[in-house]
Symmetry: C2
Subunit: 248 residues, 2 copies
């Protein structure tokens, strides 16, 4: 282990080349060009819950055929896809071969994926970011079943790193990194939001902070206005998802 072999730097080469890209498509092209070096059939990146004023739609960069993409979108598979729900349920890479396929709706999804030549084996890396966003980075292979376990171990190590770098880079190039909200809220404003999130009333909070009720209201008013929130509840949910206040 003490002298890492040169081949160990491949994933970092890829990461460097992605970092140099300026658009989501270009970064994905780097992945596409390097797929064959890992014996992959597909590489797919799906970013959900992206927090941004401009952008509410998911970030998508996939190598699947346009037909499968269209079918997937039209059938609203993102809400059925067992890989997505498994990803939402944990933090570890998901081996598609270990997904429970007893339920008929799930068999259907996998069956149709096969028809669109997605490949037998798959690995999906769930990614949760600092803004509460969620992404799924998936790779597909099609090797004899007996080769899969060892291939999988290699892929997990390589793509755990690549997928997180890719996501972090994707947010940057899509200019999602800076939600200045955290910096724009004053300490008092955040404090009052935190206590509201903890279920305290304005009266409670005023007692806790040793302020008048009016002052607590004042800070909450400012917090609402800075966060473009329609209510304190709204402000709290925004503050949480923007990472402005910690979890209760």
């Amino acid at each position: 282990m003490r002298n890492p072999s040169p081949e160990n730097t491949l994933s970092f080469e890829i990461i460097d080349r992605i970092s140099a890209a300026a658009k989501l498509e270009e970064g994905h092209a780097v992945l596409r060009e390097n797929m064959h070096r890992f014996d992959l059939k597909h590489v797919a990146y799906l970013g959900l819950n992206i927090p941004s004023e401009r952008r509410r739609k998911p970030l998508v960069a996939v190598t699947y055929s346009p037909e499968w993409q269209r079918h997937y979108e039209q059938s609203d598979y993102v809400n059925i896809d067992p890989v997505v729900s498994a990803g939402l349920g944990g933090i570890l890479p998901i081996d598609w071969t270990e997904i429970d396929r007893t339920r008929p709706t799930i068999r259907k999804v996998f069956g149709e994926a096969q028809e669109f030549d997605v490949g037998m084996q798959g690995l999906s890396f769930p990614i949760r970011g600092r803004y509460g966003e969620f992404a799924l980075f998936s790779i597909n292979a099609d090797v004899p079943a007996r080769n899969w376990p060892s291939l999988k171990k290699m892929l997990v190590k390589e793509f755990m790193v690549i997928s997180y770098y890719f996501h972090s880079w994707a947010l940057q190039v899509e200019q999602i990194e800076q939600n200045d909200f955290a910096g724009k809220l004053s300490e008092r404003e955040k404090e009052c939001l935190r206590w509201s999130a903890a279920g305290k009333t304005i009266w409670d909070t005023s007692a806790i902070l040793g302020l008048s009720e009016r002052t607590v209201r004042f800070h909450l008013e400012n917090a609402r206005s800075k966060l473009n929130a329609l209510s304190t509840t709204h402000a709290v949910s925004k503050a949480i998802s923007y990472g402005v206040i910690p979890l209760p």
Copy 2:
């Protein structure tokens, strides 16, 4: 790449051994016993914001000297430590050598860490889980500066995987995995919470869902009670952190 060498399985051996452990301490012991195989001086795991009824304190498993731990805790360094704030600010591994050390308070922390023999180089892996919890998995080394870049690449690949498995396992053994909340809330209850989180009033929500105002209130009452929340704002913040409702 197509024939992964046997040494590539080391991290998975460690993972298997951790999986077999029944307590946080035992899992950490596995890491401690394997430190030398990666030339490490320390391995530290810190779990914050752990969502649980029972447990509000952080999960801690570190190899640092008790003196340093005590000093760290007493000085409230968790709120100053630049590694922690860097981790909270992103998703990528943090190289301690790249931390900005111009600010005097930060120089102080690093200087004191040196005194307690923490090691020159460090890598910290920020981990965000599905319950909104945050963890930091750190490793330390002490090698000549010129050896660090290549060692770092190897460590990033190995411990990106190990750290996420460790966190996932830690939540399991500490019985934090199942917050049945998501399953206990009915569809309508979640729906009403989502609209509240989006800033809608009860009247708005009733119009959106085609229900009476009383019914929306009814669902919110049930949601509050199921989540042990003191207000709708409280319920929303809990629902978000428990992953019951998606982000706004």
